[in-house]
Amino acid sequence: MFGTLKMHLGRFRHGVHPPEHKALTSHLPVRRLPFPDEIVLPVRQHAGKPARPIVKPGDRVERGDMVAAADGWVSVPIHASAAGTVTDVGLWPHQDGSYETAVRIAVDPNSAQAPRARLIPAWEGLAPKAIVEAVRHGGVVGLGGAAFPTHVKLSPPEDKPLDAIVINGCECEPYLTTDHRMMVDYPDRVHHGIRIMMRVLGVDRVLVGIEKNKPDAIERMRETAPKDLDVEILPLRVRYPQGAEKMLVEAVLAREVPSGGLPMDVGVIVQNVGSVASIAEIFETGLPLIERVVTVTGRGVKKPANLIVPVGTKIRDLLEACGGLTDDAREVVSGGPMMGAAIANFDAPVMKGTTGIVVLRDVDCEERTQMPCIRCGHCLDACPVFLNPQVLGKFAMNSRYDEMADDHHVWDCMLCGCCSYVCPSHIPLSQLFAASRTALRKSKATA
C-alpha cells in the first residue's frame, strides 16, 4: 500500500514558523467558568445550513434542551448550555461582524444547573448507524475552528473506502493551547473518542499527529493509549499550518489529497482531538455539545487561562472572567492569530467552533506600511499548497479574478496567511485572495 510502504515523513513542505507564544497558557490546567447571567446561542455556528429555532420567548429550558433544530443533513441542532428562560429570539451580534438570529436565555440564578437524565444513550450497545445518529442529535461539530458537522464526517459515502483515521493534535496556530490541554488533562477521553470512531467507521488504524512543542501531551497520550487498539502517536516537526488536514495527511501518511478533494479521497478521515473528545463526552455525560474548552490568552488579557466555557457565553463575560484587559490591549481575535477573525463587538458569543480568544497589545499589532512587491519569492517558499502568491497578488490588485481562478488555482488557497506573514513588503496577500474569491462568487451568482 502506497501510504505504509513509505515511512511517514513527520512533516509537510513549505509553511512558516511564527513565534509560538504558547507558554502563556500551556502550563495551566483547564478549569470551569461559572455560568454567566445570559447565554446567547446563534443559529449559525456550524458549517452548513443554520439551525431553526424551536423555542419562543418565555419558554423555560433546562440544561441540554434543544433550542434550535437541525435543518437538513449538513446541519446540527443547538442546545441550551444553561437552565433559564428564553427572553428573545432575534438578531444578535455575531463573531463575523454581522447580525444573526440567536436564542437569548436569561440564566436562572437559582437553578442547580443539574443535567437532565441521560439525553444521549450509552454507545456500547449501539450499531454504528445508531451511534452516528446519537452524535447528530448531540449537535457535535469539529472543534478545530471550521465547525463541520461530525455526523457527516462519520458517514463517508460507500464508494470511498477508508483505511486510516488521522487525529489532529497539531494545534499549529500560535497562542492557542486548547487541544494541548485537552490531551494533557483528558487523554482518556480522547482515546475513548478514538475507540468510538474506529467502531463507527470500521477502521483499525489510527495515527495521532502532535507537534513536538507539546512533549507533555505526546507523553500523556502515549501513556494512556489502550493496548488493544492500533493507535500510533507521531511527534511532528513544529510548522504552521500543519493542522490543515491536507498538510497533516501529507505529514503522517505521505499521501497527497487531490486538489479540490477531501482526505477521504485518499482513504483518510481527519478529526481534531477536541472534536474526538467531544464525541466521547456526549456519551460519557449523556449531554449534547453545550460547552467547550477555550483558550483566553495574549498579553492584552490580565489572567490568561484555559477554560471550559458554556457555548453562548458572551466574549465580554469571558474576558472579564480572565481579569479584564490591559490598558494597551488593542485587538481581540477569535481563533488563532494566523487565521482568526478580529472581533468588533464583544457582545458576540462563544460558539462551538471558537478555539480561543487572543488579545493583542499595541506593540503586537503595529501598523505596517505596504511597499511594492520586489519579487523576492518568499511567498512561494511559504505557500503550503504550492501556489504562486506573487502572481496571484498582482492579478488581485488589478481585479483580474478570472485568470486567478482559471490559471492560478486561487480556489486551492486555504487562506492560511503564510504568504502575508512572510511578505517583506507587507502586502495583505491572503486578504486579497479572500476578496477575489468573494468577487468570483458574486460574478458567478449574477452570471
Binding site: 500500500m1 477508508l162 486551492d412 512572510v422
Partner: protein, 358 residues
C-alpha cells in the same frame, strides 16, 4: 473594560514576520560596504569619489523623478553603490553621476519605480556608459607604483602614492580628461583576450592576486573572496537566493573546464574565469537582484546557468574581454518567460495511486 476604546479590526493574519523590504535593502547595503572599503584600499581616494558620485546620481534622480518618499527604502543607494563598484577608479566623476542617473531614470523610474523594472538598473547604467564612453571604462589603474611594485599594503612611506588620484576624476563634462601620471594596466581578462594566455603568465599576475584583489580592474570587482563572504552573509539572512550565484559558478566552471581540456593555450581555465573580471560581483550582487531575477527556485537555476553560459561565450568569442553585464541583462529579459514555465506544481495535482485497503 471600556467600550469607548477604539479597537483594531484587521484581516488575518494578525502576526507578521519582522522582515521588511527596507530591512532587506539596508542589509544588502551593509554587505556591500566591506567591498567598497576594499576598493578604496586598493584604488585610493579616487575609488571613494567615484562611489560617492554614483550614489549621488542615483539619489538625485530618484528624488527628482521618482515617487515621493522612496529614498528611504535604500534601493537607490544600492544601485548607486553597485554601479560605482563596476567602474574603474580613474573615471571622471561626472560620468559616474550620469551613469547612475541613467540607470535609475531609464532603468527604474520610467517603469514605475521599485519592483517594476525588468533590467538591473546598475547594469543598465553601466551598459550606457560603456556604449557612450568606451575608453574611459576600459582604462584600468593598477595598485602598483611607477616602479611596478605593489604599494597598497599599508606602507606609510608609500602613502602618497596611495593617496594620488588614479585618473582625472575632476575632468569637466565632455572635456578630454587630462592624462594623469598613474600606472594603468590591462586586466587579466583583457590580456588573455587581446594578447594571448601566455602573456598573462608573463605579466606576473598570480592566482592569489585574483582571489584577494590586488590586480587591475574595476573598484569593487577584484576582491573575489571578500565578495563571496559578503554574499554568504546575505544568504544566511535569507536575503539572497544562493541558487543563482551557485548555478552561475557551476556553469562557468564546467564550460570553461571543458574548453580548457580542448585547448589549454587558447582558453582560460575555471579558476581564472571565476575570479577575474566582474564575474564574482555580478554573480553575487547583480544577478541576485530580487526584482530582476526569477521567483521560482527552478527558474533561478535556469537563470544562473544561462548567465554562466553566456559569460563563457562572450568572454571566449565576443568582441569584449568582459561579458558579465551583458549576460545578466540578456537573462533579465528572459525572466518573465522563465517564471511562466517554472510555475510550481500545485498541491494535489499529482496523478497518484493510493490503494486503500479497507
Amino acid at each position: 473594560m471600556s467600550t469607548s476604546r477604539r479597537w483594531l479590526v484587521t484581516a488575518s493574519p494578525h502576526l507578521g514576520s519582522p522582515e521588511s523590504t527596507q530591512r532587506i535593502m539596508w542589509s544588502v547595503i551593509g554587505s556591500i560596504v566591506p567591498i567598497c572599503v576594499a576598493g578604496i584600499y586598493f584604488f585610493g581616494p579616487s575609488a571613494l569619489l567615484v562611489l560617492l558620485a554614483a550614489v549621488l546620481g542615483a539619489l538625485v534622480t530618484e528624488r527628482v523623478f521618482g515617487k515621493r518618499g522612496t529614498l528611504g527604502d535604500g534601493s537607490a543607494v544600492i544601485t548607486g553603490l553597485l554601479l560605482g563598484l563596476t567602474l574603474p577608479a580613474g573615471i571622471p566623476l561626472w560620468m559616474a553621476f550620469v551613469g547612475s542617473a541613467f540607470g535609475i531614470g531609464f532603468g527604474k523610474v520610467i517603469f514605475g519605480g521599485l519592483g517594476q523594472n525588468p533590467f538591473n538598473p546598475a547594469l543598465l547604467g553601466r551598459a550606457f556608459l560603456q556604449a557612450a564612453f568606451p575608453a574611459a571604462l576600459t582604462t584600468w589603474p593598477t595598485n602598483t607604483g611607477a616602479d611596478g611594485t605593489v604599494f597598497s599594503h599599508f606602507r606609510l612611506d608609500r602613502l602618497g602614492e596611495w593617496a594620488a588620484l588614479r585618473g582625472d576624476n575632476f575632468a569637466l563634462p565632455f572635456m578630454r580628461p587630462e592624462v594623469v601620471d598613474t600606472t594603468t594596466s590591462a586586466t587579466p581578462l583583457g590580456i588573455a583576450k587581446f594578447q594571448g594566455l601566455e602573456e598573462v603568465q608573463k605579466s606576473g599576475i598570480e592566482m592569489s592576486d585574483l582571489l584577494l584583489g590586488s590586480t587591475g580592474g574595476c573598484i569593487g570587482e577584484t576582491a573575489g573572496v571578500l565578495i563571496l563572504l559578503c554574499g554568504g552573509y546575505l544568504v544566511l539572512r535569507n536575503h539572497m537566493n544562493w541558487r543563482i550565484p551557485v548555478s552561475i559558478f557551476v556553469a562557468v566552471a564546467l564550460l570553461s573546464g571543458v574548453f580548457q581540456l580542448v585547448d589549454a593555450d587558447k582558453f582560460s581555465g575555471p579558476l581564472t574565469m571565476l575570479f577575474s573580471g566582474g564575474l564574482m560581483l555580478g554573480a553575487v550582487f547583480m544577478a541576485t537582484d530580487m526584482v530582476t531575477s526569477p521567483v521560482t527556485h527552478k527558474g533561478c537555476w535556469i537563470f544562473g546557468i544561462g548567465i554562466g553560459a553566456l559569460v563563457v561565450v562572450i568572454r571566449y568569442w565576443g568582441g569584449l574581454s568582459e561579458g558579465v553585464q551583458y549576460a545578466i541583462l540578456l537573462m533579465n529579459a528572459m525572466v518573465p518567460f522563465i517564471n511562466r514555465v517554472t510555475q510550481p506544481r500545485v498541491f494535489g495535482t499529482r496523478v497518484q495511486k493510493v490503494r486503500v485497503t479497507a
